[in-house]
Symmetry: C2
Subunit: 656 residues, 2 copies
Amino acid sequence: MINDASKSSDVDVQALTALLDGEYAEIRDLVRTNLSTHASVLEEAEELGIDAFRERVRELTVELAATGQTGMGFPKEYGGGGDIGASIAAFETLAYGDLSLLVKVGVQFGLFGGAILHLGTERHHRAHLPDLITGKLMGCFAMTETGHGSNVQALGTVATYDTASREFVITTHGDAARKDYIGNAARHAELAVVFAQLEVDGRSEGVHAFVVPIRVDGAPAPGVRIEDAGRKMGLNGVDNGRLWFDGVRVPREALLNRFADVTPDGAYESPIENPGRRFFTMLGTLVQGRVSVGGGAINAAKVALAIATKYAVRRRQFEAASDGEEQLLLDYGMHQRRLLPLLARTYALHFAQDVVRTQLHEVFSGDQDDEQARRELEARAAGTKALGTWHATRTIQECREACGGAGYLAVNRFAALKADSDVFTTFEGDNHVLLQLVAKGLLTNYAHEFEDLDQLGMVRFVTGQAVETVIERTSVHKLLERVRDLLPGGDEWDQEAGLLDRDYQLAMLRFREEHMLAGLARRLKRGLDEKGDPGVVFSHVQDHVISVARAHVERLVLEAFVDKLRTLPDGGDDGNDGNDDGNKVALGLLCDLFALSTIESDRAWFMEHGRLTVQRSKTISREINNLCRKIRPLAVDLVDAWGIPSAMLRSPDLVG
Amino acid sequence: MINDASKSSDVDVQALTALLDGEYAEIRDLVRTNLSTHASVLEEAEELGIDAFRERVRELTVELAATGQTGMGFPKEYGGGGDIGASIAAFETLAYGDLSLLVKVGVQFGLFGGAILHLGTERHHRAHLPDLITGKLMGCFAMTETGHGSNVQALGTVATYDTASREFVITTHGDAARKDYIGNAARHAELAVVFAQLEVDGRSEGVHAFVVPIRVDGAPAPGVRIEDAGRKMGLNGVDNGRLWFDGVRVPREALLNRFADVTPDGAYESPIENPGRRFFTMLGTLVQGRVSVGGGAINAAKVALAIATKYAVRRRQFEAASDGEEQLLLDYGMHQRRLLPLLARTYALHFAQDVVRTQLHEVFSGDQDDEQARRELEARAAGTKALGTWHATRTIQECREACGGAGYLAVNRFAALKADSDVFTTFEGDNHVLLQLVAKGLLTNYAHEFEDLDQLGMVRFVTGQAVETVIERTSVHKLLERVRDLLPGGDEWDQEAGLLDRDYQLAMLRFREEHMLAGLARRLKRGLDEKGDPGVVFSHVQDHVISVARAHVERLVLEAFVDKLRTLPDGGDDGNDGNDDGNKVALGLLCDLFALSTIESDRAWFMEHGRLTVQRSKTISREINNLCRKIRPLAVDLVDAWGIPSAMLRSPDLVG
């Protein structure tokens, strides 16, 4: 038995689970119970054919709805739970199980239900919420078209107002404008929320949403053509489909009119004058989809890590010492390096998800709903979704490989986890496009440097959107001062601070973000000044755009982890179990490992920009190995604390 | 239309295909024809149930065998093609199509057939080769056990020689010793080559291989228990199974006796005295499996890249300039950065695969078969397999994401590519274990520094194997001289050499390898000197072990690319089509991009070790962007040159 790190502390698993579950322990436990009750769906996903599995997933969706698990986000008066944060927590927890069921729930209650709730007004709520909350009324969210997924402002479907009949006439112009990949459309949806270019009196008013019946008694509604999108890499319990509309007429009241309306006699009205801003206000109400997917992805990664960690403390391979016993996988330094930084990052993302979920709850409950709070929420949701879903893809892959050939058997979960979660990186916003959205928000801080920005359309290339407002005006030449402010002990401080000094870790990630952002702003400005072709200028800086957004989000993630640690009582315990301290120690190790491995992955950048000496860079790598050895004896407790129902792990031969 | 790089040269696609196909153009074209003929298998993989698809794959295997495609590696006298290199080339090309069929062919002709051919003697050849070459006789390769996949020297199955009956008695001791994940075992194999610990006269002689009937008229043979391994992440056209043996008796002649035999009266005989060396000699004959998988993985990556590249020159998203037209994906800098370095690395790996295939051919045809050639081949095969399969996993994932939601539909190939190729990283040798094998070979160069190495069992931890011989003795203190030798212009030369100077690129990768190797040797020696627990010492250096192996293989890959470029005629053309020059220019760009992006990914290491200044590091990143812009107009030609039959791309909506 090889174990050269003494166990530095004990983890109180139950207390840690309570900490992680936070204020939503109750709803999470309800979901855990439901997951265990319906655990057979994991096998059914393999065994049933597509048709039967789709029906099974629909059936389960309705059963879950009956427990109240899926309706938390809707107003109580219509049968919901009236708690948006809880609805996200429920969704996150559901991601421990079959992901077709997760996505079906997301489509029905998050996208379809969310659109009715947030884009519609009372008439739509009264008409549809009660039945959609129970799952009696199934619907879909028909935004994406074959030709436009990311750039949805350019959708091709058109809704023309016909004043004579007081109806909208919805038409698909060409196959590029067909609605595509629409969940729930191929089989189950009766209604669709259709996004289309609104035309009133010959004038285009931009994209708006309409409630359109697409299926009556199981058959396509008149004028609607439906095609099955067919088999997918995963999520085959969700019936994705394509929709074409051929002059489909819906009454004037079908317009989801919270942000704009058309009067009976054909006058367009909206409290938001700027069409771009109007559109993004509408889109913004759908931010909960991104928060949900990000949280779901992080929890899918937990399932993979739990299996791989448990396997690594059972599986032996190769003799390590002369006693003839083979060594446990997790006692190999490389195996620790493969799994434990991912474990640390998962914890970090968990706490970052807590922050974005809380912000979402505050904004949508009206606790703190102003322009700036919304924009911060949207940026944070976009960034956490991008990093969370990429993390899931990478973690699931690493864990599969860390389980060898056994990880390739379907019974061991990785097959489904990998295939089902794959699309998370590109749906609900392609990750690269989302990071550009994040970068755009950051660039607005520098916007007065680019007075002719909108004119040249420069920032449109960052996100396909116009910059509308400037939150904070900071000029580029102030950068150096700001950087100095980041280093609490002066300009040289970072060369001497302890690697495990939390202020050092934060200062490093803040410096990187600020420096990258200023560099990007300079490059854009130079491109403008030199009258470069805007497309070419953007193309040349796009890797910087993505980098700065990533740096920004990683800084937010570290801050979330550090903030969480700071809320924990210091030094002692709460007098009940004597273990609180152990949990704080363990979380501190994870936070250090996350911070240092984040710096390590980008250490070339830090060296290139004078914030890391060669010696210090090597010391960081050694410290990471030390941290891995310290966390190794705690690893199983740390994955157990996630409270994944054991039936969700399956893998009898791996975790046994 | 945004395109700021003028097309620097034209690619002659046909000539480039001829260059890439090389001496095996004929067999590759046969395989291409067969792939197109049986293209429907790609749909059948989705549509048929597991049982029907397994039968279909078996049927196709037999049909391919009838064309001669799969038997190239067997002697002509038994119906084979007598050309080992051609058999690998055929296998590589088959990887453009369905990968279940590929793996079924690999199991039947490579593993099972290869074991009979290379471990057996004439009696086994006469008895089995003719029927197995046609596919009439199906077999399996029963090495891996549930308890031992990587450390096969510790297998638990036992074969005891019974002198009285002149038979071997084969027994599975406990479930950990059951044969597991065995391709062809669940349904089709009649024979198994079973690896078991040979016991003769109460003495263990180590692992040997036996031909054992496991199925008679479709039912398990007496004493054999067979279980289906069930559904897998992919490759569901291959029937993987588990095998238990309960005192199964086979005649003395069932021992594959090329390297060892048991006389009728129970005397063990082998020309190779050292048991470890004997075992690894037997294993070494199976190196063609690794060469095959590596080559197959590289070609699977080509399919993904071809689809994503063709999509990226058709798909537009977001307006880039004020003319209102959306920009092609491949004109975005980030999109180029995502795809084109992978394209360059694919070309590099293609040429590296040419080298290892040629070495395999030479060794196994007896052209150059000595101890050193075999060891070089084994190390190169292990390294190319590891890097090639990881490259495939990464490339397929990136290409899927680069095709957005469309890439998630099964019809667009990524679902199958991803699921089927996933196991390549861990079968035929887990990639991490293989890289340790590579590192072990490198360490033998330093072995005299560790005179007590075997005694302490140090190097066993590198690979679970004892170091047997020392190829070349170089002491650690000579390192600096060697490094200087690597820099043709003296110690400072690398700071001034052009980034596109091939000698510079090579020197950088050589320096990295040498320096890492010396560092690893020093660390191991220090651990020994300090009498550290060997397991702990190894665990602490294991990340260095993996790094040095990766650095070594990347150097070999770059050398293969550079060597290939140097064989191309300089400056002019061959007078036929005027385009040879264009191809050389294009390959030169790819080679530069591969070299520089390899240096860039590890630029932190180069800075840490004094071989890259901050300024130069940044310049390399800029040069990579330049190279991407130069390659962008050639990208479609460069993927077309792989000659992937269009039916293999499917993806009607992506590549049109």
